[in-house]
Amino acid sequence: MQMKPYFIIHKLRNMKYYHKNIIAIILSSLVVFSSCKVEPINDPNNPGLGPISANPTLGEIQNLVTGIESGMRDNINFYLDDAGVIGREFYRFSTSDPRFTSDLLGKGTAVLDNNTFYITNPFAARYRVVKNANILLDGLTHTTATITDAQRKVGKAYANTIKAHELLMVLNLEYDNGIRVDVSNPDALGPFLTRAQSTDEIANLLNTAYTDLSANAAAIFPFSTTLFSNTAGEFAKFNRALAARVAVYKSDWNGALTALTNSFFNLNGDLNAGAFYYFSSAGGDQLNPMFFPPNSSGEARVAQPSFITNADPGDTRLSKTPLRASSTTQDGLTSNYDFFVYKTNIDKIPIIRNEELLLIYAEAKTQLGGASNFTDAITAINKIRNAASLANYSGVVSQAALIDEMLKQRRYSLYGEGHRWIDMRRYNRLNTLPIDRAGDDIWVQFPRPANE
């Protein structure tokens, strides 16, 4: 038979019988199908963002707060390694990642990358906490749980204090690149502000929060916090301590002193009093990421040798850098001393403590100048020196000399807590930091993460 199209069409037309069958089959299957409804499945694994910000229970509010305080620790080691390595406080040796000793120290032609863990991880972790704080703000606004207005206000003040701290941590890394402060809507992020604007916004957040905290000083948070206190008036002291730090970063010396007055600053108090990141070996909890056992090889933090050689004889703060059983070398860097600020893997890491406040006091007084201020500054410095088993300050009493002394005490007192690099940058002294290998660089700031 020949292929004749009309033949096929003719045949097809005569297929009523056939068509009926097809239609019956298709229709019946569609009828059966249309009765199949697929029930949407809610996330079987986690609470969802929508329900929590719309109307959280008190329990869920507590969860958000715990989430915030846990999240504040996330990647804190990268922040401290960034500041500590660039500030030439210690070396971070890593057998699995060479970039701690190449990029961070500017080895040879290596530069800081804008898409590598040392900036992306701490940057993201801080903003993640900001996000949780924003969810907490939303939740506190909308919750129908029984809380007083005062509690609502101080709860929000707590959230804003945390936001300010986290943003300051980012700004410390980004510096002149500035940061975003308004990030409440992921689809419409606020602009990057200049460094000055960013610092001001952070100060504003702290101040607004402080207003509510001090106005409702007796109020108890509608949740419990590990940061200082559950009472608004007490928590305000933590808020002011942060405000004092921000003030010195702005060179606002009077502002710093005012903030100190309302903070937990105590010239005669425990230098280690303050607010902390906590760690534990409980299941699911985090261990102190800054801890390595002494004499570690491969993965280790070891002191930059000048920390030991530049110390005053007898300074007990050198217990932070004990002598190793043998020296260790990696990537052309050698040290005989361990970084041993934290003695166990569950030691707490300070957020801010009295020792820093004393030094802020000394700094502000020194900067304001005048004999009586210098005396006050020396009083504070001597508290620090005596605590380290050093004799009273006996050097020249001049602004320049006291600044040098204050910076030195900051170096030893706040060793490894993320200050040295920032202090040297504030005082334009980055070029005085030691260079370990020819061609190494000292970075001023981190590049803005590529994804921003």
Partner: protein, 984 residues
């Protein structure tokens, strides 16, 4: 004439039962052309009807026809069909089909098509091709190089599988890119489930968020020797009928069935050995080098230990793993019932001591003809397996065997003392000999697969018939992952770790699928055939994964409650899919075959669970040689074909949700916003594929050529897009990209020699795919691997999705837009394979040669070994163009400047399989048994320049983009086997 028949039928019907139909009886006999032996089980069909019968043991058949003006079609699997004019006495001899044109290819949910009539280049792999040459460990691993269009790669050499299969290029950037496996109608789960080793390795969390535990994938549970044949639908044009799960292609597996006749008993045993595929050697040391790499303390150690050198490559990777595979199958049946029972016991040792793979599989397939109009089939499979996989791949704690191996110089003594106490490794946080001897990393699986199929022939008439098929299946398994890191390990004791870790994971998977399908066939005359089918489908997924991680272990106890600290993580995956499909096939005398179909799917995985997504298809094949006017003597087959279809792919589970994740802090629990912002508007990724081709056969199809060209476009590709982290999220799910794959596939089959004693068949496959990102709604971004310093992938419009970029030094080719160096592409330039079979009398020789040309890997094993000065080629001078620097310093010098030294050509040529077997003369066994003995090997010969164990590697498992990255993996193995096979 039609009226006449009707009248006669009526007349005769009235005369019943006194009288039977006046029919003509045809007697005949079917034989095998070469041997003249009778062919039992050949099908004799009256053309254009369903009137058929089968030949008996003597090859004879009887069939009644109304008149002799009909044609009979005689067919037998593996033989060329013949069509003969009817006469009362017929003798037909069938000859072996050198091609596979006559075979029936399963392509739809309920129907199959003769290969000669296919509009798609559907690949088929027979049992012989799959397991005929050598012993296979896993089904996916057995597919390498055996058909066109696939990129198959072992993730590592760890025993128990772990293989990535990509059909026709990249089909997804982040979602599932592996094909859907369907075994006898049951959706077969192919998950890769991590053992939770990250708590020790910390591999995820620093440079990369992806887990790098190197798990196996669960298709490994299927016994390759149970498979009768499998078909691979490579793209949407063939797989549209599988809808929203088919974007990665579909592998349809049909297991063996019993055949009518005497019981057949097959016993098979093979014993073999596997060993490291490619040895690298170790760096040679002297005082200067020791001093340079490990300082004064290193030199002191070296001298104190008498400058002794240990062969750690041999110690760690030098185990000659014994491999045992025992197989027994019994099959048979009568006209109503057939059965097939298969039993396999496999026990392979790995090339690293204390690793290995054991599997026991039992299968029972039954078919039962209940009545003339109802057929039932049941398939049951139970598998128990255990894989000890060692501890390899990337880490950030220098504890894996691989990383500590490269960070340890060969002069450090790691051996235990006489009392069995292992020394601490002075140069790395882990003593890998201790780790190897003391840890456990095991996957244990118990899996049951049940499938049932009922076919109801509603009516069968002369010109039409209707069947309703109900089919269901359950895939149920429990996977236990057991990882134990005892506290005496160097990296667990003395405050170095968590004083021991015991990780016990349980995954219970219960998947089910059901379908009801109606198939109507209509044959208005002997030239025309219409086949209509419609059906509804239902698939359910329920995976419940619980991982218990215990640290601070109490003494040597490993139970998770014998610990100071326990954490539990649970992850559930739930999914419900409902779909329907309709399909119409039209066949005009095997000349023109046209198929049109539509599938509609809805799923709880989409943002809107009740929105229907439609997947249409349309295809046509035109057999020019079947035209009556065709008379070109030399060309025996000429077909042109074209097919178009669409399919989908779900977003990864959870993508529609924005979760808060749990945290533990200071004795209480809390919620922290997740890293990924969900998207409750998500729909599936959509793939559309157009495939065109031409098939040519010459010299009575002794030589056939299949040429295919395809364009596969994937739209609405989901990306876990990195978003500004100042949002609080790091990622968000968005349908933002399109990719286009284009490719050519050429298959050449030939029988160059065919004499009475000697036969040579040859199959040559060539395939090539190129991919391009055609749309990207987000800025170009880097993804995968470990950042630009060490080489990373970059998704960029106009470029291949698997391009490898990195920071660029002087002289590197850079992309003007990003300023990044462009160092190549993970996608191979082309692949070529030769599958040769030579039989001479009782001898049979098979060889499978596979050439992958091009494609690059990011090799970070080299980087790590360079940093510790242990690279075998550290002192060789072959890389520096100026000749000034040795390789180690040259590569290290580049660190932070250019990523080039770590992006390497991963081309290879290898003899994947080779086998020689001999059929012992049957008379030795009084003709009762057919005994075959043989020697075979896998990957015995390899040629590559890649500077590590094997260019076929993936640190990130079956990940769509981020494969082709190497960080100190479990090295690949080669193996040989002695086989004996007895057939009764």
């Amino acid at each position: 004439m039609r009226k006449e028949t009707k009248f006669l039928t009526l007349l005769f019907a009235l005369m019943l039962p006194a009288c039977l139909f006046a029919q003509i009886v045809i007697n005949g006999r079917v034989t095998e052309s070469k041997t003249n032996n009778p062919l039992e089980g050949a099908t004799v069909l009256v053309k254009g009807t369903t009137n058929s019968t089968q030949t008996g043991a003597d090859g004879k058949f009887t069939i009644s026809v109304k008149n002799l003006q009909v044609k009979l079609v005689i067919s037998y699997v593996g033989y060329l069909s013949q069509t003969v004019d009817a006469s009362t006495n017929i003798a037909v001899s069938l000859s072996v089909d050198n091609t596979n044109l006559g075979e029936v290819v399963v392509t739809g949910l309920a129907t199959s098509v003769k290969r000669a009539n296919l509009a798609n280049a559907v690949a088929s792999v027979s049992a012989k091709d799959l397991v005929g040459t050598t012993v296979q460990s896993t089904v996916d691993g057995a597919l390498y190089g055996k058909f066109t269009g696939a990129n198959i790669s072992a993730n590592s050499g760890a025993p128990g599988g772990g293989i990535s299969v990509k059909l026709r290029g990249i089909t997804s950037l982040v979602a599932n890119s592996q094909p859907l496996f369907i075994v006898d109608g049951v959706y077969y789960d192919n998950s890769s489930i991590n053992a939770g080793l990250n708590v020790v390795s910390k591999a995820a969390g620093q440079g990369s968020i992806l887990f790098q535990d190197d798990p196996s994938n669960r298709v490994a549970d299927l016994d390759p020797q149970d498979i009768d044949h499998l078909e691979i639908l490579k793209g949407a044009s063939a797989a549209a009928i599988y809808g929203s799960r088919a974007a990665g292609g579909v592998v349809i597996i049909t297991t063996k069935r019993g055949k009518t006749g005497k019981p057949r008993i097959e016993i098979d045993h093979s014993i073999g050995m596997q060993m490291q595929l490619h040895k690298l050697g170790q760096r040679e040391w002297d005082d200067t080098k020791v001093q340079a790499a490990f300082g004064a303390s290193g030199l002191a150690y070296y001298t104190a230990n008498g400058k002794k050198i240990y062969n750690y490559e041999k110690e760690l990777y030098g185990n000659n793993g014994l491999m045992n595979n025992t197989r027994l199958s019994v099959s048979g049946g009568n006209e109503r019932t057939t059965y097939y029972a298969g039993f396999t016991r496999k026990d392979d040792e790995g090339i690293v001591k204390k690793t290995g793979y054991r599997k026991t599989s039992f299968r029972l397939n039954l078919t039962q003809k209940v009545t003339e109009f109802l057929d039932l089939a049941v398939n049951a499979n139970y598998v128990e397996s255990e894989a000890n996989r060692g501890y390899f791949n990337n880490d950030n704690t220098s504890t894996t065997l691989g990383v500590s191996f490269v960070s340890t110089p060969s002069w450090a003594n790691l051996y235990p003392d006489a009392n069995g106490n292992y020394p601490n490794n002075p140069f790395a946080p882990s003593n890998f000999i201790q780790t190897r001897d003391l840890i456990t990393n095991k996957e244990k699986v118990n899996r049951t697969l049940l499938g049932g199929n009922a076919t109801w022939k509603v009516f069968t008439k002369d010109k039409q018939d209707l069947k309703i098929i109900a089919r269901g299946g359950i895939d149920y398994y429990t996977l236990n992952t057991i990882a134990i890191f005892p506290q005496e390990l160097q990296f667990e004791k003395d405050g170095n770790g968590t004083n021991g870790v015991s990780i016990y994971g349980t995954t219970i998977t219960r998947n089910s699928n059901y379908s009801f399908i109606a198939v109507h066939e209509f044959r208005p005359n002997s030239m025309l055939n219409f086949r209509t089918q419609a059906g509804i489908t239902e698939e359910n997924v329920d995976i419940n994964n619980v991982v218990n991680t215990a640290t601070q272990l109490i003494g040597t106890q490993t139970n998770v409650n014998q610990a100071g600290s326990i954490s539990v993580a649970q992850l559930r995956t739930l999914q419900k899919d409902r779909g329907f499909f309709v399909q119409e096939e039209f066949n005009y005398n095997d000349i023109a075959i046209i198929t049109a179909g539509l599938r509609g799917d809805k799923s709880s995985r989409n943002g809107d669970a009740n929105k229907l997504y439609y997947y249409p298809k349309l295809s046509g094949a035109f057999n020019i040689h079947q035209l009556p006017s065709w008379s070109s003597g030399k060309i025996s087959q000429l077909k042109i074909r074209a097919a178009y279809g669409q399919s989908g792919n779900f977003a990864p589970f959870g993508a529609i949700y924005t979760p808060l994740v749990p945290v533990v802090f200071n004795g209480s629990t809390g919620s922290l916003i997740g890293l990924t912002e969900g998207n409750n508007l998500l729909g599936p990724e959509k793939q559309s594929e157009l495939e065109t081709g031409v098939d040519v056969g010459v010299l009575h199809n002794r030589i056939t050529l299949e040429f295919t060209y395809y364009t596969k476009k994937v739209d609405d590709l989901l990306l876990n897009v990195q978003i500004p982290t100042s949002t609080g999220f790091s990622f968000a799910w968005k349908n933002v990209a399109s990719i286009r794959n284009k490719g050519v596939e050429i298959g050449l089959n030939a029988v160059p020699i065919k004499t009475k004693d000697l036969k040579w068949t040859s199959q040559v496959n060539f395939w090539k795919n190129t991919a391009k990102v055609t749309k990207l709604d987000v800025p170009a971004f880097n993804t995968g691997a470990f950042g630009a310093t060490l080489g990373t992938y970059r998704i960029q419009e106009g470029k291949s999705p698997t391009q490898i970029v990195g920071i660029a030094g002087p002289g590197d080719k850079t992309d003007p837009e990003s300023g990044l160096g462009v160092f190549g592409d993970a996608e191979p330039d082309f692949q070529l394979s030769f599958l040769e079979n030579l039989t001479y009398k009782n001898w049979e020789f098979n060889v499978l040669l596979h050439w992958k040309k091009g494609g690059r890997n990011i090799n970070l094993s080299t980087l790590l070994s360079d940093i510790f000065g242990t690279s075998p080629d550290y002192d060789k001078k072959s890389l520096d163009p100026t000749g000034a620097l040795a390789n180690g310093p040259y590569r290290l010098n580049a660190l932070g400047t250019t990523a080039k030294p770590w992006v390497e050509d991963a081309s290879y040529v290898r003899i994947r399989e080779i086998g020689l077997s001999y059929h012992l003369p049957k008379v030795w066994f009084k003709n009762i048994a057919d005994v075959k003995v043989g020697f075979s090997g896998r990957n015995l010969f390899n040629w590559f320049k890649y500077n590590s164990y094997d260019p076929e590697v993936s640190n990130f498992g079956t990940n769509a983009i981020s494969s082709n990255v190497e960080v100190t993996p479990f090295p690949s193995a080669k193996s040989f086997n002695f086989n004996i096979n007895v057939n009764f």
